[in-house]
Chain length 236, copies 2
Amino acid sequence: MILVQGTLLHRGKANDVYTTGNENLLIIDHSDRISAGNGAKTDVIFGKGKSNNAVSELVFNLLEKVGVKTHFVERYSDTAMVVKRAEMILLEVICRNKTWGSFCKRYECDKGITVFPAGVEFCLKDDALGDPFMPEWAITTLGYATAEEVKLIEQFVRKANYVMLELFDKLGLELIDFKLEFGRLKDRSIIVCDEISLDTCRLIDNKTGQNLDKDRFRNNLGGVKEAYEEVLNRLK
Amino acid sequence: MILVQGTLLHRGKANDVYTTGNENLLIIDHSDRISAGNGAKTDVIFGKGKSNNAVSELVFNLLEKVGVKTHFVERYSDTAMVVKRAEMILLEVICRNKTWGSFCKRYECDKGITVFPAGVEFCLKDDALGDPFMPEWAITTLGYATAEEVKLIEQFVRKANYVMLELFDKLGLELIDFKLEFGRLKDRSIIVCDEISLDTCRLIDNKTGQNLDKDRFRNNLGGVKEAYEEVLNRLK
């Protein structure tokens, strides 16, 4: 174990980030805190952090295998992982295989319409501004990323989508959409950061048609704890 | 004159549309009504309709010359024109040469940053939904236009931008951004519809740096009537 000591660097809505003895590494501890509506609704779901840590680790490992670089270094505990420290790119990148959720609200359209090839949507990561949608030319004009970075990010997202569609299908789950975040290492290379979990993926059980994701909390569907547990169990 | 009779088909925020004796033709009468903030603020500006009709006619004629098809047929009166009847495509297409207005609010960025090549932004034309931004894949997924139509529309917008940048520069005005709307004729060909005027273009006087457009009304800058008159005079 490479760690010497850790101090809390950032307490997010769901996760806590700690420094380590190595300035290039951080620890992300996935807490049991859950929130929705930009923090308007919050709760604590026992076991959520463990589930998110396990799903993230599995997906990060699969991504690395297909050439999508990630910040994952190694598991630290049941709820925490060691990650590479990166300069965050202030974008949320959403990939949609079917219309659902905020997309349907935004355009008042039916849910469940297939999007093929998958739709990739860039939003500015800024809660105060409501994470507004950003076309590529706006991203480059305002300097959030270069055109080359945007192109690479989109490639990474599409590769991740293929990998995750296959993974979740094996678990009996349909991947409706997901969000990724990215960062830059000191050598300017782009890596996937943040987490990939039931908080950031919308997953529908193939048999029951029910959400097994944060929508259970977001939309007051009940069985929130059970959903995080169920996906964790299917991973094993 | 091809017209036999006309009945009011649609009373918009600024313009009135009339049927004619020919089912393929309509008359758009540019009124002196002005509004901003999605109809929240309204007024009447004497001479505005005349100015908008003249600017629209000039620009539509220039667009036709470079192969961008429009709905313009002929002038009907000082404030009205005969246009081809088209099935409207429910998109507002914005072209930005510099960051300004709603763009700067949306991303909390400086105004006046050059966007090159110009940024083309597609929004769903739906006041109730707040005209949300739409990526190309959302437009085609939801059936608002085909991929070929979106491509052609973007080509038309970029050609229009070149034509209008040159035209307004000759009039001592910098074209910051503008909005176009499109329609389909019965043969499915795409044409520019609506109007191209001080209501839909953001124009800055090269000498004074002042807006000569609807921003004078929108932002309570005064001299609204004078701005519409001034541009009309420069056209002559």
